[in-house]
């Protein structure tokens, strides 16, 4: 038993596992190696999300680059008491992807059914595919608890990057209805997924 503990201690240097929060704190001090490590951990998620919205791979890489440069610049203002590093980054990533969707009409040759149809599963081999599946499954189940209109509205907005007025047009419903459905749908998802602050 002692051996186990000792060994574990010896191996710490080699494994050197650190959390994303710890990495981001180091990035805030200008630590480029920590930034590289953080990038390695979370870039596939960021690129996955951005590409989901933009569809175009070259543009998605551009936006991903912008996001990571922003992380570098603003890590100094990250406060871990306000939430996890990955939440901060993923929220920023979605916002930036939406910004690009809105700014670039060229990217809007996207299928207008984009949020409604089935998705391509693009699985590059990343290390957390098991957890990925578990979490995906939970979201999927939660999504099924929404009404069709709620689900379509939320999906078009989040995964398609459409504004609520665009969603209203796509679904042929009044904008007031879309606002309500987006709110009701998100509240339902919140409850289904057990999000509470």
């Amino acid at each position: 038993m002692l051996k186990l503990v000792t060994r574990e201690t010896d191996d710490q240097q080699e494994f050197a596992p650190v959390t994303q929060d710890q990495l981001l704190a180091r990035v805030a001090n200008g630590d480029q190696a920590a930034f590289a490590a953080l990038y390695d951990q979370i870039a596939p998620r960021v690129l996955g999300l951005v590409r989901r919205l933009l569809r175009d791979h070259a543009q998605s890489e551009e936006v991903t680059q912008e996001i990571f440069l922003e992380i570098w610049q603003t890590a100094t203002r990250y406060d871990s008491t306000k939430g996890g590093a990955s939440t901060w980054i993923m929220t920023m990533a979605h916002r930036r992807a939406v910004d690009r969707v809105r700014a670039s009409q060229a990217s809007r040759d996207r299928d207008t059914k984009i949020g409604i149809r089935d998705y391509d599963a693009e699985y590059d081999n990343v290390s957390e595919t098991v957890q990925t599946r578990v979490e995906h499954e939970r979201v999927e189940k939660a999504m099924l608890r929404l009404t069709d209109l709620q689900r379509q509205a939320v999906s078009l907005a989040y995964y398609g990057g459409y504004s609520h007025s665009e969603v209203a047009t796509l679904l042929s419903v009044p904008i007031g209805t879309v606002k309500t459905r987006l709110r009701d749908g998100m509240i339902r998802l919140r409850d289904e997924l057990g999000v509470a602050s």
Binding site: M1, L4, F15, P17, T19, Q20, A28, F35, A43, R45, E61, T64, Q65, E66, F68, L69, E70, Q73, T74, T76, R77, D79, K82, G83, G84, T87, W88, M90, T91, H94, R95, A103, I116, R117, Y119, A121, E122, Y123, N125, V126, T129, V130, Q131, T132, R133, V134, E135, H136, R151, A157, Y158, H164, L182, D184, M186, L189, R190, L193, G194, S197
Partner: protein, 283 residues
């Protein structure tokens, strides 16, 4: 309650989904400082939106992207830390401090033209992120495997037998804990191990990938390893053909515990009989 306020209330969902125009966004943010309940709802819905983001399949970026980014940050200055909250703030300093600033700056720019390069206004934009003030920090990605919107097809990628919903809920609870942490380590002999834990919940989960399958008479066993108490058995697992598996550890995690994995005879052992193939510290 004014009409304007009422309107902001109805926009929380769209706000969290980034589905508002810049003008509407500013209107919601202007109200955040005034309403605790509105702020609370926006925070929770923004956290929920992050879960939707994690439901997207990760995509491995090309090495050139990292090289380009690393090259740029080498000579890029970082912003100075934010000043302490302004005196005008009330108890909820962060939101109230930023909200007026945000709305003021937003209203001075054309509402319908977000910047093509989101980067230049990074500072202001980044501040707006703090509204979300996430209460959860979910680790991990998630994938869009057959997330059929409107179709209603449920793809159970794990198989009912492998993990119960209860275990998945436990994993989610760890992910959702405010003090959620995770660490990744390489496994001797190949594969990776990801440890997720929450001190608040005194709970941990291990996810492995690329781990070698074992003969029928062997299992992988998890251990909480306390500096003083030594290893405590925390459950066994096996891996499928992909070498993947996960499980929530049995028992309570104590502060400072490391988590290790050993190969043990089927049924598990009371104390480790082999050297760990991986050990991750939580301290």
């Amino acid at each position: 309650m004014t009409d304007e306020r009422h309107d902001a209330d109805s926009l929380t969902g769209a706000y969290a989904l980034n589905a508002l125009s810049a003008e509407e966004r500013a209107a919601v943010e202007a109200k955040l400082g005034e309403s605790e309940s509105l702020r609370h709802e926006v925070t929770e819905l923004a956290d929920t939106a992050v879960l939707l983001g994690r439901a997207v399949a990760p995509v491995t970026p090309p090495p050139a992207l990292k090289a380009s980014i690393m090259d740029q940050i080498a000579s890029m200055p970082q912003l100075p830390p934010l000043e302490t909250p302004a005196p005008e703030s009330d108890a909820t300093a962060t939101v109230t401090e930023i909200a007026p600033r945000q709305s003021a700056s937003s209203s001075s720019e054309p509402p319908t033209s977000p910047p093509v390069s989101a980067f230049t206004p990074a500072e202001r934009k980044a501040q707006s992120r703090w509204f979300t003030k996430p209460a959860i920090a979910v680790a991990s990605v998630a994938a869009v495997l057959g997330l059929v919107i409107g179709g209603g097809v449920l793809v159970n990628t794990l198989g009912e037998s492998q993990q119960s919903n209860q275990a998945a809920d436990q994993l989610a609870a760890i992910n959702a804990a405010s003090d959620h942490q995770q660490a990744v380590a390489e496994i001797e002999g190949g594969g990776t191990a990801t440890l997720l834990w929450s001190g608040e919940l005194a709970s941990a989960a291990m996810i492995v990938d690329g781990l070698a399958a074992l003969p029928d008479d062997k299992v992988y066993e998890l251990w909480f390893i306390g500096e003083e108490t030594g290893p405590r058995p925390a459950g066994t697992f096996t891996v499928d053909a992909d070498g993947t598996s996960w499980r929530v550890l049995d028992g309570e995690m104590h502060a400072g515990d490391a988590v290790g994995v050993t190969v043990e005879p089927r049924g598990g052992s009371e104390a480790p009989t082999t050297d760990p193939i991986v050990a991750i510290t939580s301290a």
